[in-house]
C-alpha cells in the first residue's frame, strides 16, 4: 500500500485550546478517505496546517512519502493538493473558464487565449462527468454547478489529492449523488480524495476508510465496510447517540398563521414568492424545504415584516398583519430565529446579557423611570443562560466571544422565552454541533407540544423530516408540494426541490 498523505503527531495549540493533539492519520493513494468529527474536533485546524495557513507546533506531514512544510496555498497546489472549500472561492462575474484557468491562463501573444481555455476546461469537465458550460458566468449558476467549477480548478492544476470540505452542505440529494459519482470516478482514475464531513450517511455511502476526530485527537481509524453509523457516532461524541429520532405526530389546533395568495418582490424587482398560501396551526411544525434561493428567505422576510407585501395577505390569529410594523407583529405574538445569527440575530458588539434582553426590554419590570433595572436584566440573563445551557463567560462580555453553537442558543433562548404563540425558525441549527442540535430540536418539540406553532425553514432535509408535522416544498417561489414526513424519504423531497416533477409533467 502506498500512502498519498500522512500526518504524524500534528499538534497545534491556540491560546486556551489544544486544537490538534498529536493527530496521526494515514491516507492511502487511490482511496476515498473520510474525516469526521463535530465542530471543534480539529478538522479545520488540521487542513489549515496542511495548506500552510499556520505552522504546526509539532509533528510532520508527508505527501507521497516526502516531508513537506507548505507556507502558502500555492506551494500546496504545486505539490499536487487541491482543496474545495465549503464556502466557494470563485469570482462571480467571471466565466467558468476564467475561474478555472486563473493564474495559469493559456496565452497567445500576451493575451489570454479564451478559446483554448474554454476548450481545455470543457475537455476536462467531460472526462470526469462534471457537466458545466465553460463560457457561463459563474454568478448565474446554481450551487451544485459551482462546486463542479471548484473541483475543475483543482483538476486543472492536476491535483493528485483532492480535499473536499463539507461538500454536500449546499447540495440537493440528487446533486449529492452526482457528486459521489464524480468522486468515485476520480478515485478510479487513481486520485486520492479526502472527504471532510459530519454526515454519517455520506461516510457510509462513499468512503473507503474513515478517521474520526474528537477534541483534537484522532480517536478511531476504521474501514468503512467494517463499521456502522452508530459506532462512528459513538467515537465522534464519546457517548451513545440516538440517530433516528422522530417527533411523534400530534393533534394540531386552530390556525395561528395564515398566509393567503402572497406575492413578494425580491432582488432586481423579480417576483421571489409567487402566489403562496399556507397555514400554521397551534401544535404543529410546518417545515419548508427547498434549495436556497427559491423564495424561502423572501417568504420569511414578508411574514416577519422585513419586506413589503405587494400582494396577498398575512393573518396572525385572524388579525391582518400584512402591512404592520415589525413591532406590531411581535406584540401580536410572533418570535423569530433568523438565519443569520451574526448579522441579524445578535448585536455582536453588545454584551451577552443585552443580547438576551433584546425585544424583551419593553416589558414591565426591566425599566423604571427610563432607566434599565440592572438587577432585573441580570436576573433575566442568568435565568436564560441556565435554562438553555449557554456556555458563556461573564454576562457582560461581548456576545461575539461565544462559539457558534452558544451564540445560536442565545438567539433561541431569547426568542423562545417571549411566550409568543408563533415561532419562525430559519435554519435554527446550521453550523452548530450535534449536542446543540439535539438541544434545539428538543426545545422546538417541547414548544410544539405546549401548543406553539412553528414555521421552520431548513436546508437540512434530515432536520425537516425529523421535526415537521407537514412538509412544504418551495421551488421557484411557489409551494410545489405538501408532503407527509412519515411517507416520504429525502430523495422524494429532493425530487420536488429541483422542480423535476414539472419537467416530468410538461415533458
Amino acid at each position: 500500500m502506498s500512502l498519498a498523505l500522512e500526518f504524524r503527531g500534528i499538534t497545534k495549540r491556540f491560546p486556551g485550546v489544544l486544537a490538534n493533539d498529536a493527530i496521526d492519520m494515514k491516507v492511502e493513494a487511490g482511496h476515498i478517505h473520510a474525516v469526521v468529527g463535530e465542530n471543534g474536533a480539529g478538522k479545520t485546524t488540521l487542513m489549515s496546517i496542511l495548506f500552510g495557513l499556520y505552522p504546526a507546533d509539532a509533528g510532520e506531514i508527508l505527501v507521497s512519502g516526502e516531508r513537506v512544510r507548505f507556507t502558502s496555498a500555492l506551494e500546496a497546489i504545486r505539490a499536487g493538493l487541491g482543496m474545495v472549500h465549503q464556502a466557494f472561492r470563485l469570482f462571480p462575474t467571471l466565466s467558468v473558464a476564467d475561474n478555472v484557468v486563473f493564474r495559469d491562463e493559456p496565452t497567445r501573444r500576451g493575451m489570454i487565449d479564451r478559446a483554448a481555455g474554454a476548450e481545455g476546461v470543457g475537455a476536462l469537465a467531460e472526462r470526469y462527468g462534471l457537466a458545466v458550460d465553460p463560457r457561463a458566468v459563474v454568478e448565474t449558476l446554481p450551487v451544485g454547478v459551482l462546486q463542479r467549477v471548484e473541483i475543475l480548478k483543482a483538476l486543472y492544476r492536476d491535483a493528485r489529492i483532492l480535499i473536499l470540505d463539507e461538500p454536500t452542505a449546499v447540495l440537493t440529494p440528487q446533486e449529492r449523488d452526482k457528486l459521489f459519482e464524480v468522486i468515485r470516478r476520480l478515485r478510479d482514475a487513481g486520485r486520492t480524495i479526502l472527504f471532510i464531513t459530519h454526515k454519517l450517511g455520506e461516510v457510509m455511502a462513499v468512503s473507503d476508510r474513515v478517521t474520526v476526530l474528537r477534541d483534537g485527537r484522532s480517536v478511531a481509524d476504521l474501514v468503512t465496510a467494517e463499521t456502522n453509523p452508530t459506532e462512528i457516532a459513538r467515537y465522534m461524541t464519546g457517548r451513545q447517540v440516538d440517530l433516528d429520532r422522530r417527533a411523534p405526530a400530534h393533534e394540531a389546533g386552530g390556525a395561528v398563521l395564515t398566509v393567503t395568495d402572497l406575492t413578494v418582490t425580491g432582488q432586481h424587482g423579480r417576483a421571489a414568492v409567487k402566489n403562496v398560501s399556507l397555514e400554521v396551526r397551534a401544535g404543529e411544525i410546518v417545515g419548508v424545504a427547498g434549495i436556497a434561493g427559491n423564495g424561502q428567505s423572501e417568504l420569511i422576510e414578508a411574514v416577519t415584516g422585513l419586506r413589503d407585501v405587494p400582494d396577498g395577505s398575512i393573518h396572525l390569529h385572524g388579525n391582518d398583519i400584512s402591512t404592520s410594523e415589525v413591532l406590531t407583529r411581535r406584540l401580536a405574538g410572533m418570535a423569530y430565529i433568523p438565519e443569520d445569527r451574526h448579522g441579524v440575530g445578535t448585536s455582536h458588539l453588545a454584551t451577552v446579557s443585552n443580547n438576551l434582553l433584546l425585544g424583551h426590554q419593553r416589558r414591565d419590570g426591566f425599566q423604571s423611570k427610563g432607566w434599565f433595572d440592572r438587577k432585573a436584566v441580570r436576573h433575566h440573563a442568568r435565568r436564560l443562560i441556565e435554562t438553555y445551557g449557554i456556555r458563556s463567560g461573564p454576562i457582560n462580555s461581548p456576545v461575539s466571544t461565544l462559539s457558534g453553537g452558544n451564540l445560536q442558543k442565545v438567539v433561541v433562548a431569547r426568542e423562545m422565552s417571549h411566550g409568543a404563540p408563533l415561532l419562525i425558525a430559519e435554519q435554527p441549527t446550521r453550523g452548530v454541533d450535534i449536542a446543540a442540535i439535539e438541544f434545539i430540536h428538543d426545545r422546538l418539540i417541547t414548544f410544539r407540544d405546549d401548543g406553539g406553532a412553528v414555521l421552520l425553514v431548513s436546508a437540512e432535509l434530515s432536520e425537516i423530516r425529523a421535526l415537521s408535522t407537514r412538509i412544504l416544498v418551495m421551488f421557484d417561489g411557489r409551494i410545489v408540494a405538501e408532503l407527509d414526513p412519515a411517507e416520504v424519504d429525502e430523495a422524494a423531497i429532493g425530487y420536488y426541490m429541483t422542480g423535476a416533477h414539472e419537467e416530468a409533467l410538461s415533458g
Binding site: 472549500h85 462571480p92 496565452t107 489570454i112
Partner: protein, 305 residues
C-alpha cells in the same frame, strides 16, 4: 445664441477640461477594479500640479515637471496604499485626509519655496507644448481640437483602449479583477491581493500626477492654491458612473468636461461666475441621483468581499 455657444473654441475647452479628469478617473478605475475605493485623486492631482510647476521651474523644462508630478502622485499613493492596504485602514477616511493634507501642504510650501501666496507664475516655468499631428490636425473642426494637444492628452486618449485590453484580455488584468472581486479566492490560487492592490494604487498615483501636470503646465502655466478645485472628486464620480469600464469612464469624463467647458463659456456670456462654477457639480449631482442603483452595486462590490 447657439451659434455663439457651440463652436470649435468650446470643444477645445471641453477637451482641455477633460484630460485631467480622464487621467485621474482611469487611475481610479484601476483601483476600483482592484477593490480599493480610491477618492484621493484630488490630493494626488493637486500635489502633482505643485510638483510639476516646481520641477519645470528648477530645470526650465516641462519634462522634469512631469517627472516631479509623477513622483508627487506616487508619494501620496504610497501613503494611501500603506494605510489602506497594508494597515487595512478605511480608504475613505484616508482619502479625505490625504486630500486635505495636499491642500494644506501645497498652500504652505508655495510661500516657503516661491515666496508668493495664491498664484505662482514665472517665466522659468516651461509649459507643455501642443503637438500638432501632421495631416490629422488639418481636419477642420475636429482636427484642430483633437490632434493639437499636449503629449499628456494623447497619453490619456490612448490609455482608454489600452487599459481596456489590459483589463479584459490579459492575465494581469484578469488577476487584478479577480483580486478586486474576491481577494480570498485570488490568494488561494497564489495571486497576492496586496501586491495587486499596491500596484493599482501606485498606478493611480502616476495617472493623477500626470493629471496635475496637465493642469498646471498644459491647461495653464502656473500654480494656484487648490487649483484642482474638485476635479479629483469629479473623477471619482466618473469612475462610478462609468462602472469602472474604460470606455464608459471616458464617456462620463467627457460629460463632466462638457459641463465645465460650457460653464466657462456661459460665464463669458454674462452668467454669474458662482452659477457657472457650480455647473459641473450640478451635473455630477444629477448623474449621482440618476444612476443611484449602479453606485449601490459598485459600493457593494468594493466594501463587501
Amino acid at each position: 445664441m447657439f451659434d455663439q455657444l457651440f463652436d470649435a473654441a468650446l470643444f477645445d475647452s471641453v477637451v482641455r477640461a477633460m484630460i485631467p479628469i480622464l487621467l485621474a478617473a482611469l487611475g481610479g478605475m484601476i483601483c476600483e477594479r482592484a477593490g480599493v475605493f480610491q477618492i484621493a485623486m484630488e490630493g494626488m492631482m493637486l500635489s502633482g500640479a505643485f510638483a510639476a510647476v516646481a520641477g519645470s521651474y528648477v530645470a526650465v523644462y516641462s519634462g522634469l515637471g512631469v517627472v516631479f508630478a509623477v513622483g508627487a502622485g506616487v508619494l501620496v499613493s504610497l501613503m494611501l496604499a500603506f494605510g489602506a492596504v497594508s494597515r487595512r485602514g478605511d480608504p475613505i477616511v484616508l482619502g479625505i485626509a490625504l486630500n486635505l493634507m495636499a491642500i494644506g501642504l501645497t498652500g504652505f510650501l508655495l510661500p516657503q519655496i516661491f515666496g508668493v501666496r495664491g498664484v505662482f507664475q514665472h517665466e522659468r516655468i516651461d509649459g507643455l507644448d501642443r503637438l500638432a499631428i501632421p495631416v490629422l490636425s488639418d481636419i477642420p473642426w475636429i482636427g484642430s481640437v483633437l490632434f493639437n494637444q499636449t503629449i499628456l492628452a494623447y497619453v490619456a486618449f490612448l490609455l482608454v483602449p489600452i487599459l481596456w485590453l489590459v483589463l479584459f484580455r490579459t492575465p494581469i488584468g484578469l488577476r487584478l479583477r479577480g483580486v478586486g472581486e474576491r481577494p480570498l479566492a485570488a490568494e488561494s490560487l497564489g495571486v497576492s491581493p496586496i501586491a495587486y492592490k499596491y500596484g493599482a494604487v501606485i498606478a493611480s498615483g502616476v495617472l493623477s500626477g500626470l493629471a496635475g501636470a496637465q493642469l498646471a503646465l498644459g491647461n495653464v502655466v502656473q500654480f494656484a492654491e487648490n487649483m484642482s478645485s474638485g476635479r479629483g472628486w469629479v473623477a471619482v464620480v466618473a469612475v462610478m458612473l462609468g462602472r469602472a469600464h474604460p470606455f464608459a469612464v471616458f464617456g462620463a469624463s467627457l460629460l463632466f468636461a462638457f459641463a465645465e467647458g460650457l460653464g466657462f463659456r456661459l460665464q463669458g456670456n454674462g452668467l454669474p461666475v458662482q452659477i457657472t462654477d457650480a455647473l459641473p457639480f450640478l451635473v455630477t449631482l444629477i448623474a449621482l441621483i440618476a444612476a443611484r442603483k449602479r453606485f449601490a452595486r459598485l459600493l457593494d462590490l468594493t466594501t463587501g468581499g
